[in-house]
């Protein structure tokens, strides 16, 4: 059976068995931390249910909340911009930076700016952009992309980071102690924070009632950047908007516990006004989000608060790594968001799911991730992206299974290996690479029944 891009990449990932095992364990460790901390709150499941309802409410009242948010933000002295797509977002950011003659920008972690491919855009305009989250900085120095939305460099071993830093930050060769390396990055990035002309951030939550944005970090990088530079540009996806503090209190309780198993992030920062003598811009970015609203089967994807819990629990993600997916967001939520972005381009991630449903259970806003993957699979045929052998097998199965007599006949002959087992046990070669085929019973249950061997006298 011709395999999908994900399956091919996953196969390569599994070639280094030791590293694949390490990757699986590193993420399982985070999943277990999440389990432990969620169980310290008796109200956890109610909290998830509230999180889901708050997001469904917010997304279904998006237009009015956006207007309220923008009006409040503007009253606070914030300059609010609206961007239809990634291109417009990047153009707005560039224009603001150029107006301020900003040559160097420090940026905190933002999946939205990854989505917009902002860094390359700015670099092409001669603006230097420094990632300030440690994981993101490691990847920037390495010239690679995040493999996880919360733990961007989770696929790299400390030795690889040590080697990279010795080359780029002049750390001691062979020293890969995480504390030593983190301190080296601290020194280097402090210099960047102090010399940057502007700070860019993402947004975790936008609060309609106050016009504030809230940013959650452990490192304090968003705060360092925005409190040392006069200019702050925050990029915010439309779906980040929630009504008020009451809603925020629910979602902040869910976010860090789900993401890393911490009771909270170190910093939960509320930005309402520009710093004294500075400017504060918020770019509201659509980039396809308003189209998702009409897609009732998949609208819940907009609930996502980007905690990454679905990745940590996904048995396929843990064993195949973030780079095995074609979309920049991997794992269960990434499979779904990729399909919403461009179904033809990203349909080959749909194989990366055994439908175990664990992701549904960890999602803090109860996105039905596995159900959505199942539903996307139903669309493959009409997209012209259905796997031809899978289709053939399914057609064969349908034929066999809608003809009970034929099915019974096939059950009688273990020699049906030529035909029915292909249906019953699917692709023989792929199966037999690592598993033996189960032998057929001498007599099927149906035969036993028909021969009267089952019923007690």
């Amino acid at each position: 059976m011709s395999s999908t891009k994900h399956a091919q990449n996953a196969d390569v990932f599994q070639q280094n068995k030791e590293k694949a095992t390490w990757h699986d364990n590193a993420l399982w460790f985070v999943r277990e931390k999440r389990d432990r901390i969620s169980k310290t709150l008796p109200e956890w499941e109610e909290l998830r249910a509230l999180g889901e309802k708050i997001k469904l409410h917010s997304v279904s009242h998006l237009a009015s909340y956006l207007e309220q948010f923008a009006a409040n933000a503007e009253a606070n002295g914030v300059i609010v911009h609206w961007a239809k797509d990634a291109e417009e977002h990047n153009a707005i950011a560039t224009e603001i930076l150029q107006k301020h003659n900003a040559k160097k920008v420090v940026k905190s972690k933002s999946m939205l700016t990854e989505e917009c491919d902002l860094n390359h855009y700015l670099e092409a305009k001669g603006i230097e952009i420094i990632e300030s989250d440690l994981g993101e900085r490691i990847l920037q120095l390495n010239g690679t992309a995040p493999s996880h939305i919360v733990l961007p460099a989770i696929h790299m071993k400390r030795e690889e980071v040590g080697e990279l830093f010795s080359e780029k930050l002049n750390t001691e060769k062979g020293n890969s102690d995480p504390t030593y390396l983190t301190r080296a990055a601290r020194v280097s990035l402090r210099n960047d924070f102090l010399t940057a002309d502007a700070a860019m951030t993402g947004v975790n939550f936008g609060i309609a009632a106050t016009g504030e944005i809230v940013i959650c970090t452990n490192e304090g990088n968003a705060d360092m950047g925005t409190s040392l530079a006069k200019l702050h540009i925050a990029s915010m996806g439309l779906e980040k908007l929630i009504p008020d503090y009451e809603s925020l209190s629910v979602l902040t309780r869910l976010l860090a516990r789900s993401a890393t198993g911490q009771p909270t992030t170190t910093y939960t920062s509320h930005f309402r006004k520009p710093v004294e003598g500075g400017e504060f811009h918020i770019i509201l970015v659509d980039n396809g989000r308003s189209d998702i609203l009409s897609n009732e089967e998949h609208i819940k994807s907009l609930n996502c608060i980007r905690c990454g819990a679905c990745m940590n629990t996904c048995p396929v993600y843990r064993r195949s790594g973030g780079y095995s997916y074609t979309y920049f967001i991997p794992g269960p939520i990434g499979i779904n968001l990729g399909m919403l972005k461009d179904p033809v381009k990203h349909s080959e991630n749909l194989s990366a799911c055994s439908l175990c449903y664990s992701c549904n259970n960890v999602c803090p806003v109860k996105i039905d991730l596995a159900d959505q993957i199942y539903k996307w699979r139903q669309d493959l045929d009409s997209l012209g992206k259905a796997n031809s052998s899978k289709k053939l097998i399914s057609t064969g199965m349908q034929f066999l299974f809608t003809h009970p007599a034929l099915f019974r006949t096939s059950l009688k002959f273990s020699s049906l290996a030529k035909y029915a087992p292909r249906s019953l046990t699917f692709g023989l070669k792929e199966w037999e690479d690592g598993r033996s085929l189960p032998p057929f019973a001498k007599e099927s249950f149906t035969e036993m029944w028909k021969k009267g061997k089952v019923k007690k006298k």
Binding site: M1, S3, T4, A7, A10, D11, Q14, D24, D35, E45, P315, V316, R319, S351, C353, S354, L355, C356, Y357, S358, N360, N361, R377, Q378, D379, L380, D381, A386, K390, K391, I393, T395, M397, Q398, F401, T402, P404, F407, R408, L411, A420, T425, F426, E430, W431, D433, G434, R435, S436, L437, P438, F440, A441, S444, F445, T446, M448, W449, K450, V454
Partner: protein, 246 residues
């Protein structure tokens, strides 16, 4: 009480002893069991692969065959879960109504919730490692999934503990997927086989003599790995243990 025994296609062909044990257990508790011989497959393999349309005629066929029963019972959480959760939506698309979804049960679920079994006659003096299958756990809620903060319970374990002599243990990562997933197992062979190996090793590390579970498909997958790697651990369906001595 009339019960229709639903024997998933691969159980029929590969594990008829599981179906036989199911029949014995149900009749032991005085249930009137019939087996519609024209049954084939519920359609889940095609639907999970993305061909719900091809599952639809099977759903209709299943509906016609099993409509007359008070309960429909299957020794497979996954197949029962598909009939229960997916049939209604699937059939609605064609303007039909599923008359079977509300009364389909996994066998363990049926013994525990409907028959409220609190005694079993047999003995099984062995250490078994319980495989908590995904669909039984997360769709049919046969037990508390490890991700949820709910009171821990396991209907399967409770039933097993009624059998004299059995010692039930569970592997690390107590309910991680075995990697079968129907077509997933051949579309993503590297990951599927790795998941299966990890799961089998987890069970094996408990030093149990058997891996047991309520879903034959997971047992088939893990059994294939055990056999390929010539591991000493044996596979047995929960129903076979519950029917010991019958």
């Amino acid at each position: 009480m009339k019960v229709g025994l639903f024997v998933p296609c691969y159980v029929n062909a590969v594990y008829p002893e599981v179906a036989l044990a199911s029949y014995k257990l149900l009749t032991h508790f005085g249930v009137d069991v019939d087996y519609p011989v024209d049954q084939t497959c519920c359609g889940q393999p095609m639907a999970n692969a993305g061909f719900e349309g091809k599952a639809l005629p099977l759903a209709k066929q299943f509906n016609d065959l099993f409509e007359e029963f008070d309960y429909i019972v299957a020794p497979s959480g996954s197949c029962a879960g598909f009939v229960k959760d997916t049939y209604p939506r699937l059939m609605e698309k064609e303007g039909c109504t599923s008359k079977v979804s509300g009364k389909v049960y996994d066998l363990c679920e049926f013994l525990y919730d409907i028959l409220k079994v609190d005694k079993l006659p047999g003995k099984f003096p062995h250490k078994v490692s319980l495989h908590n299958s995904c669909h039984g756990l997360r769709e049919l809620k046969l037990g508390s999934a490890s991700e949820l903060n709910i009171k821990p319970y396991s209907k399967v374990k409770a039933l097993l503990n009624l059998v004299e002599g059995v010692k039930v243990v569970e592997p690390i990562r107590v309910d991680e997927c075995c990697g079968f997933g129907g077509m997933f197992s051949i579309e993503e062979p590297a990951i599927s086989i790795r998941m299966g190996n990890d799961r089998v090793n987890g069970h094996s590390d408990t030093e149990a003599e058997y891996i047991t579970g309520a879903d034959s498909s997971c047992l088939m997958h893990m059994g294939g790995i055990v056999d390929k790697n010539k591991m000493p651990i044996k596979m047995i369906h929960v129903v076979e243990i519950l029917a010991a001595g019958l």
